[in-house]
């Protein structure tokens, strides 16, 4: 260390702030408290609840690659779908154990992510975006054509899942599904949280902020991006696997532009690159969809489109961004 040495000020506040940034803050327990409370407060909505957890995990995986690494993708549903089909097909073919099925879903999706990432992350901008879209369409075609194993346009049916750990049976009130999905979400969240606060995660932010600079400080940029993309794909695959196991059905539109768009919108609603945007955006979207879309899907699509445009124009940081602004105003008034 020829140019610098240990600072004279051993515990400089700036250093402390940086090193302590990852510490858990009490408010971060709020989503989990709400999830547990909801089980007792809304016993009739447990199916919706588990779907929400699944989408939060899905959106979280997208946030890793989009919010943190800055790679815009319209193809993330591909990995979700691959995971769903993997878990579903395993069950249909005779492997009914849920947890190993879920792990398999994640691994297969991660492999697809790795291979496609190696190929398409050589490009950037519109070309990259287009390639992510192409992958979704390709895999959708593949799933459609391989009807003998995927069920094609009719979807994959007959997915039977064994009780978890041999004791917790999947019941028709979705109680087991609720806790199963919540537990998996918790693990996924813990992992992503660890990741984004690690040097790896910070380097992703660096790549997003200024890739030229990252190259110039010796970062193996493409390797980091492919790694992040693979992890993100694996997590999306786990979310998809959860869907297959809890709903016991996989529809073809699980690999679609529409789903990629939906999860993107959820993330934008909540706030991109904030870790918790997924936790706000997914529930808001899912609940709104549950209420409004069933009545009139055309109406729903129109308003989603409009809200998306309004967010881009006026509220780029999503709901978390708006909260930030509000807090900022409050602090200023206090001074």
């Amino acid at each position: 260390m020829i140019l610098s040495g240990k600072s004279s000020l051993k515990n400089a506040p700036a250093v402390e702030a940086l090193v302590r940034r990852h510490r858990l803050r009490p408010i971060e327990l709020l989503p989990w408290a709400i999830a547990v409370a909801a089980y007792f407060l809304f016993p009739g909505y447990l199916a919706l609840g588990s779907q929400i957890f699944i989408m939060v995990l899905f959106a979280l995986s997208l946030d890793l690659i989009l919010g943190y690494a800055g790679i815009i993708t319209l193809g993330h549903a591909a990995f979700f779908g691959v995971g769903a089909y993997t878990a579903g097909i395993l069950a249909v073919q005779g492997w009914h154990e849920p947890i190993s099925g879920l792990i398999a879903a994640g691994i297969v999706a991660a492999i697809v992510g790795l291979v496609s990432g190696l190929v398409i992350l050589r490009t950037h901008g519109l070309t990259l975006l287009m390639l992510t879209l192409a992958i979704v369409f390709m895999l959708n075609e593949a799933a459609n054509k391989a009807g003998f194993i995927t069920g094609g346009a009719d979807g994959l049916q007959g997915i039977a899942i064994d009780p978890i750990f041999g004791t917790f049976r999947f019941d028709m009130f979705s109680r087991t599904a609720y806790w199963y999905a919540l537990a998996v979400l918790f693990l996924g969240w813990a992992f992503v949280r660890l990741l984004v606060h690690s040097p790896f995660g910070r380097s992703l932010t660096g790549i997003r902020e200024n890739v030229a600079r990252m190259h110039a400080i010796g970062t193996p940029v493409r390797r980091r991006l492919v790694t992040a993309y693979t992890i993100s794909a694996g997590l999306a695959g786990v979310a998809g696997g959860l869907l297959a196991q809890t709903t016991e059905f996989v529809a073809l539109n699980v690999i679609s532009f529409e789903l990629s768009g939906a999860v993107l919108i959820m993330l934008i609603f909540g706030g991109v690159g904030r870790l918790y945007g997924a936790f706000i955006g997914a529930p808001v979207y899912m609940i709104a969809e549950d209420e409004l879309a069933k009545a009139d899907p055309v109406y729903w699509l129109f308003w989603i489109g409009l809200i998306l445009i309004l967010i881009v124009m006026f509220a780029r940081g999503g709901i978390l961004g708006l909260i930030d602004q509000a807090l900022h105003q409050i602090r200023r008034r206090r001074k």
């Binding site: 702030a17 040097p199 110039a216």
Partner: protein
């Protein structure tokens, strides 16, 4: 003695436009070398070729005797190459401390760590902070870079390059457009750089060049016009001719 940095017959053209012509260049350990020339002479292009941002059309680049011509940027950085950009390339949304910490972390090889190694992180942060203190920007450590005035941003740019502990440091117009307080800090820093680092500065400010450089290379239209000691360069008629319409900094 092996040069820490050497180029042999370096050429680069964009179609019919040749921006680097047959450049032979050597930098020894501990060098204090300036690269001067009129605007558009290809000085930044030369640096981009050395760092790997641009691929040469032909020629070789060697770092401590090793041929790095086909290695990517990051591999050259790992072999001791550090640079600042003519226009600041910073992480505008991140704090000043974090900007430098990223560089230190990469240098230490922990940039890709996914599991927090708490001790290493503190060490990285402390070293980054020490650098900020040396450049007298420690007070701004937690501020997002975009909130800093240009001069202080330039100091962050230099701190990042220093954080890499380079063996070869390429400074592209480090003091350009910087107010006097900060440029004084920069000049002082350059003078205090460890003697074993090789430093190449691109500069237009002749006072700085003659104060700092022990050798000067003059680049005109992508080719080396002449190379020598400051005395030789000052006396060279061709150099004066080239600069006749270009007194001082445009």
């Amino acid at each position: 003695m092996t040069a820490v940095l050497e180029t042999r017959g370096l050429n680069k053209s964009f179609g019919a436009l040749q921006v680097a012509q047959d450049i032979d260049f050597r930098l020894e350990a501990g060098a204090r070398h300036a690269l001067i020339g009129p605007n558009g002479a290809g000085k930044t292009t030369f640096v981009n070729l050395i760092t790997g941002r641009l691929r040469p059309s032909s020629g070789q680049i060697l770092l401590s005797g090793e041929d790095v011509t086909h290695l990517p940027q990051e591999a050259r950085v790992k072999r001791g190459l550090g640079r600042t950009f003519q226009i600041n390339q910073l992480f505008k949304g991140l704090s000043v401390l974090e900007n430098v910490a990223l560089a230190v972390a990469e240098r230490d090889g922990v940039g890709g760590d996914m599991l927090r190694v708490a001790g290493a992180r503190r060490a990285v942060a402390e070293e980054a902070y020490a650098l900020l203190e040396r450049l007298r920007i420690a007070d701004d450590a937690l501020k997002p870079v975009r909130e800093l005035p240009y001069g202080r941003q330039r100091l962050v740019e230099i701190a990042i390059a220093l954080g890499l502990n380079p063996k070869v440091l390429l400074l592209d117009e480090p003091a350009a457009g910087v107010p006097s307080t900060e440029s004084a800090i920069i000049l002082e820093l350059i003078e205090e750089l460890p003697p074993d680092i090789a430093v190449l500065i691109i500069e237009h400010d002749m006072d700085l060049v003659f104060r700092f450089a022990r050798r000067i290379t003059v680049l005109v239209q992508g080719a080396v016009l002449v190379e020598g000691t400051p005395g030789e360069i000052a006396a060279d008629a061709r150099v004066r001719e080239v600069y006749l319409g270009e007194r001082g900094h445009v």
